[in-house]
């Protein structure tokens, strides 16, 4: 009989942890010019994790962010704009699902829509869009789901929930086993 309240408490802790973990995410969206230059500048910190992938995919040695936005999503229904002088990336979030966010993306060149895409942006899979050639370089659009900074710091300051941690490890393990 004492097991029931214990299980209920564990379930509540797990549910609250899961809610707090899901509620604190941001989407970084950037307009990036990729170029080959003799003295490449260091890659911007937002793209550090993608550096090798971008180099392998596009063959450029420098990636410069010309416009960006870091939008924290609370309802999953927000919209925002990442602007450079001539380009604008309008992102319209149309809801959250188990794997990420449903987004409508529009790339503007001044007032013209160059490209429109509907995507389901996964929390574990960045999206890179190859845009038009710009001079000797290439315009790239990059979208990445990141943990919100404040929530990230808060979670690190607090002791980890062992049940949530174990569950996440199990999910990762199963995910790694599955093709």
């Amino acid at each position: 009989m004492q097991l029931r309240p214990l299980l209920l408490a564990a379930f509540l802790v797990l549910a609250l942890s899961a809610v707090s973990a899901d509620a604190a995410q941001a989407v970084w969206s950037g307009l990036v010019i990729a170029e080959n230059v003799p003295q490449p500048a260091p890659i911007p910190p937002e793209l550090t994790g993608l550096e090798q992938t971008l180099k392998d995919l596009f063959g450029y040695n420098q990636f410069e962010v010309i416009g960006q936005s870091n939008k924290t999503l609370k309802t999953g229904q927000e919209d925002w704009l990442a602007n450079s002088k001539y380009f604008g990336l309008h992102v319209d979030a149309r809801g959250e699902n188990d794997s990420g966010y449903s987004l409508n993306l529009k790339l503007y060149k001044e007032s013209d829509v160059l490209l429109e895409t509907d995507a389901n942006l996964s929390k574990s899979s960045p999206l890179v869009i190859k845009g038009p050639q710009v001079g000797s370089g290439q315009l790239l659009l990059v979208l990445v789901v990141k943990d919100d900074e404040q929530a990230h710091r808060r979670r690190h300051a607090e002791p980890a929930n062992p049940i949530t941690t174990a569950w996440q490890r199990l999910r990762r393990a199963i995910h790694n086993v599955l093709p």
């Binding site: 993608l50 895409t117 960045p126 999206l127």
Partner: protein, 169 residues
């Protein structure tokens, strides 16, 4: 000087010999009856001896039996006091059952994921379009990077090139 009873006992035990044996048997009034009594006494002696030996073995066995019973009782009590449901065979069976359940669950989960279906862990491009008037030869393709960070790439070709001024921040 031995009494008659002493000589009789010695004769019954076959301990008289020689002249003493002859004199004692000559002194008996009915030698045949005495001989018969001697045989009966010897039979009785042999019987008693046999019975006493049997009794001694029987006691030994009885003692041994009691000892075994006591040892069994004590070991059973000790076993009862330290025994648990988690015996080694049950542990092995429980482990095997848990492993089987894990494998079944994994197989079921894997079977729900269709081979051609894009993983929910990857970003999915639902639809994509470019302005056909401005970019009549544009093509779009989608693929996933082979690197660890699972980047989904929307690759366009044939978009109108722009001057370098457009790279301004």
């Amino acid at each position: 000087m031995k009494t008659f009873e002493e000589k009789w006992t010695a004769w019954l035990d076959g301990q008289l010999s020689g002249k003493e044996l002859a004199e004692f048997e000559a002194s008996l009034p009915d030698l045949a009856a005495a001989q018969a009594e001697k045989r009966d006494a010897q039979k009785l002696g042999a019987f008693l001896k046999e019975q006493l030996t049997t009794q001694a073995v029987s006691n030994e066995e009885f003692f041994s039996h009691q000892l075994h019973e006591r040892i069994a009782r004590e070991s059973e009590a000790r076993h009862r006091s330290t025994s648990t449901w988690w015996t080694i065979p049950r542990l092995v069976w429980s482990g095997a059952t848990a492993l089987a359940l894990f494998v079944i669950t994994t197989v079921v989960l894997m079977s729900q994921h269709q081979p051609g279906e894009q993983s929910e862990y990857l970003t999915q491009i639902l639809q994509s379009r470019v302005d056909p008037a401005a970019n009549p030869n544009a093509t779009i393709s989608i693929f996933e990077s082979k690197t660890d960070n699972k980047v989904t790439v929307l690759w366009t070709e044939g978009l109108q090139s722009l001057p370098a001024d457009y790279a301004a921040k």
